[in-house]
Symmetry: C2
Subunit: 209 residues, 2 copies
Amino acid sequence: MNKRGLLIVVSGPSGTGKGTVCQALLQKRPDIHLSVSATTRKPRPGETDGVNYYFLSEEKFKSMIEEKGFIEWACFCQNYYGTPRDKVEEQLAAGHDVILEIEVQGAMQVRSKFPEAVFVFVMAPSVEELERRLSGRGTEAPEVIKERLKTALWEYSNMEKYNYILLNDEVDGAVDRLISIIDAEKQRTERNADVIQEALKAKERIDLQ
Amino acid sequence: MNKRGLLIVVSGPSGTGKGTVCQALLQKRPDIHLSVSATTRKPRPGETDGVNYYFLSEEKFKSMIEEKGFIEWACFCQNYYGTPRDKVEEQLAAGHDVILEIEVQGAMQVRSKFPEAVFVFVMAPSVEELERRLSGRGTEAPEVIKERLKTALWEYSNMEKYNYILLNDEVDGAVDRLISIIDAEKQRTERNADVIQEALKAKERIDLQ
């Protein structure tokens, strides 16, 4: 029988590079699965249903919300985004480790439903660097950048609710540290009740001899 | 300023190979320090004071016990063994990670004094394998082997008090998994209060702008 897989939630503000870290992780560890989100927004050129997103109608999405079909969901800019529960459950049951790369708000929803999941908060090396990364994206007005930064720092204030803080100073190092977290978590005592049970049974058998 | 090092307690019954794993760890990661124990037993040929052990007189050892100079100590076969507190404290303060390779009883003493330490329990792949390893050491009588196995299994019943269970099925893999544990622990949120503080200060500064 397969041991249940690990659910790893990777989140953090925009500009911290969580997406890049997760993509690089999948390159190094193809045994880990990345959960595909569902959305009601229209596919962009080059996007494939089931690969980039599951593209759903608003009606379908809302009925899935009612049926508790999402682990977490949110509405941004009039589009819905969510993590379908059935796919994640299937993969975990098959013994695969699953990464959810989601926003901080979504992560807080997962936390109440999957307290055994591992929560990793990705942060930029410094607030100055985060500011640079948020500005570097385009030619937005300073007020827009300031709003983004404020949101990011509100998200930072939720950091303590995560199990790990992953500093993304450079992607390669960050990926290796994320792999350490995953490998270490599998060895935590509370995830190895079966091993303990087996040892205690052996003790009983030998004591009786 | 250096961040305080991590104290890693590696223990487990005889025959699980904890010594071999720790030695192999030091080869791969010379940045990690192994704590040298003190003992009142006589040096064996080839053993060097300060390298294999600190060789102390019984009088000196007992006065150190009274001065609370040991993190943990015990008496086996009329010889005292212990972990000198000052060396460990010095290395941790200098930012070095320190490994204590000690018995289960000693580990329980460390646990009450250093709750922030990381406790790793090394186990053999199976009780049958442990039995083989304990028998394989010499030509002892079956009763002696059975006693050793009983002790080992009593130690197994303390497993739940450890943070991690390290399966020593083969040394190389076990060392890599131990390294994962050390690298992951440094990223745990509760060990990064400084990072959180800094982010919250930045938030305050930006909010006021």
